[in-house]
């Protein structure tokens, strides 16, 4: 594989984490414009762990995931009462708060004679664990793909264990769900923690691929894209958001057919899909039909 293909595939996989994260909350009936904040927390958390504290890679990534899940759960705790537009604005505000904080957050330590760590708006350089370990881009792509497979497997496990069903139930009609005794608030907090952890995993992997991150990368538009991927790809399966990423990054961005008009095409595509298929291409009804067909 040439460098370009590897970089495109890496991008698709990394954005998939963010898209799945927003998708989990869409399933729970919540529209979040702020999942990029957890991507950022994962990137900074894992980056600090490996580059500044010199932790092993796996441990650093785990730290990033834990940070994202913890903050996701904590933020959801008060936000769980909000719904619709109010929830969307709260997530947007929180993500901007994280970005503004990272803009002034400086934490530099001397590592082998070089000052290393986040330096406010100047960003965070030298997250070099992967390169120092001598991992070529192709091998690191396998690491990313493995992690993505892990997330897909986790969602499959949660589907089998009915957590996803409970999430869909709560998302579809929280009042009815509450009447039947389902723990609506607890389910939504768990979903937010899960979504935070998944986005943070993507961020952690991204930071080690790019070696450099800065707060400006985690803007609202990143979060809006993540949300749009789930909406066009479909809410019926975890492959929905991945399909969304494939369409946007795989086709529109990488092939450069539409060159400068990419965002116009993407925006139009989102609008058309939302009109024709309000819950995306791979929506619940289609997945239900697929499941019924497979059972035969």
């Amino acid at each position: 594989m040439d460098g370009f293909t590897i970089s495109v595939l890496s991008n698709i996989a990394l954005f998939s984490f963010l898209a799945i994260s927003a998708w989990v909350l869409l399933i729970a009936g919540e529209i979040s414009f702020g999942q990029q904040a957890y991507f950022a927390l994962g990137a900074y958390g894992a980056g600090i762990a490996t580059a500044v504290w010199q932790w092993p890679f796996a441990l650093g990534v785990a730290f990033g995931i834990g940070l994202g899940a913890l903050v996701g759960g904590l933020v959801a705790w008060p936000a769980v009462r909000l719904s619709g537009l109010h929830y969307a604005i709260a997530t947007l505000a929180f993500a901007e708060l994280v970005r503004a904080t990272l803009n002034v957050f400086t934490y530099r330590r001397d590592v082998g004679g070089v000052a290393t760590g986040p330096d406010g708006a100047n960003g965070f350089r030298d997250i070099r664990w992967v390169y120092e370990a001598g991992l070529p881009p192709g091998a690191y792509l396998l690491v990313i793909a493995g992690c993505l497979a892990g997330v897909i497997g986790l969602v499959a496990l949660l589907t089998r264990g009915r957590f996803m069903a409970r999430l869909r139930i709560v998302g579809e009609d929280p009042i009815l769900a509450a009447m039947m005794g389902l723990p609506v608030a607890r389910t939504r907090i768990a979903a937010a923690a899960l979504a935070g952890g998944i986005a943070a995993l993507g961020g952690a992997l991204y930071a080690h691929l790019a070696t450099y991150v800065e707060p400006a990368q985690f803007s609202v538009m990143t979060g809006v894209h993540a949300l749009a991927y789930g909406l066009i790809g479909g809410l019926g399966t975890v492959f929905g958001p991945i399909l969304g990423v494939l369409i946007d990054i795989g086709l529109l961005e990488s092939l450069r057919i539409f060159a400068g008009y990419r965002m116009v095409v993407f925006g139009g595509l989102v609008a058309v899909v939302l009109i024709l298929r309000p819950r995306g291409v791979l929506d619940e009804r289609m997945m239900h039909r697929v499941a019924a067909w497979l059972r035969r």
Partner: protein, 255 residues
């Protein structure tokens, strides 16, 4: 068994329910009628806990439900259907029943404990409910793909799945044909015969007067009459309340 004591609900200056007292006896079908906006649905919402009463209490077998959350009332044995059908459209028919049956156990069960539990919607009890509501051929169909009448039947089966002691039916025959109404009446009787007390809100007078043991009439949030169907139909206040529409009045007399 179910006792409402001077129950009121005010929305700003509107007294949707204004001091209603009712007592349902174990195993009876109790009809609650009244013109549109007389407070029937609000009464059900107060019993199930969707609304908090301004004043008054709701008791089930002497236990005060007034401060309980909706799901606690469900666990106590209060179940309902909705005037505007509410189902989980993305779930199958059987799954809708499974949720109603197990919502409560799900709450208590440990989060991880149920991870690997699957296939619960194939329980014999759910099979029986499907047969009872004539939905057995639709068990794996998404609820949103059902016909209107099937959705109504699923709602009632869903209410029964939580094993209620008292079932609140909010206009179950709305939009139904006369034959469907007769089948529904049969189902409501069967439900009562299984030991479930029924509170029935309905506009189809034939249905209410035909199957209710007792009937109460609401007007402007107050109870204006209560008694056997025959007594209520003969009541002058009731006729006056319905006289706004001549048609309704005749319907009431001929029913």
């Amino acid at each position: 068994m179910l006792a409402l004591d001077s129950l009121s609900k005010h929305f700003g200056g509107v007294r949707a329910v204004d001091g209603i007292s009712l007592t349902l006896k174990e195993g009876e079908i109790f009809g609650l009628i009244g013109p549109n906006g007389s407070g029937k649905s609000t009464t059900i919402n107060l019993i199930t806990g969707l609304y908090t009463p301004t004043t008054g209490t709701v008791r089930l077998d002497g236990r005060d439900l007034t401060a309980m959350a909706q799901h606690e009332r469900t666990a106590m044995g209060v179940a309902r259907t909705f005037q505007n059908i509410r189902l989980f459209g993305n779930l199958t028919v059987a799954e809708n029943l499974w949720v109603a049956q197990n919502g409560h156990e799900q709450r208590r069960a440990h989060f991880l404990g149920r991870w690997f539990r699957a296939g619960g919607e194939h329980s014999p009890e759910i099979g029986e409910l499907l047969k009872f509501s004539r939905l057995h051929s639709k068990r794996d169909v998404q609820a949103s793909a059902l016909s209107f009448g099937e959705m109504r039947r699923l709602e009632m089966a869903r209410a029964l799945a939580s094993r209620p002691r008292v079932l609140l039916l909010d206009e179950p025959a709305a939009g139904a044909s006369r034959e469907d109404g007769q089948i529904l009446a049969e189902r409501i009787r069967e439900t009562r015969d299984r030991g479930v007390t029924v509170l029935l809100i309905e506009h189809m007078m034939e249905l209410v007067m035909g199957i209710s043991d007792r009937v109460a009439v609401l007007n402007f949030g107050r109870k204006i009459a209560e008694g056997s169907p025959a007594e209520v139909q003969a009541n002058a206040d009731v006729r006056a309340a319905y006289l706004g529409s001549k048609h309704k009045d005749e319907e009431l007399i001929h029913a």
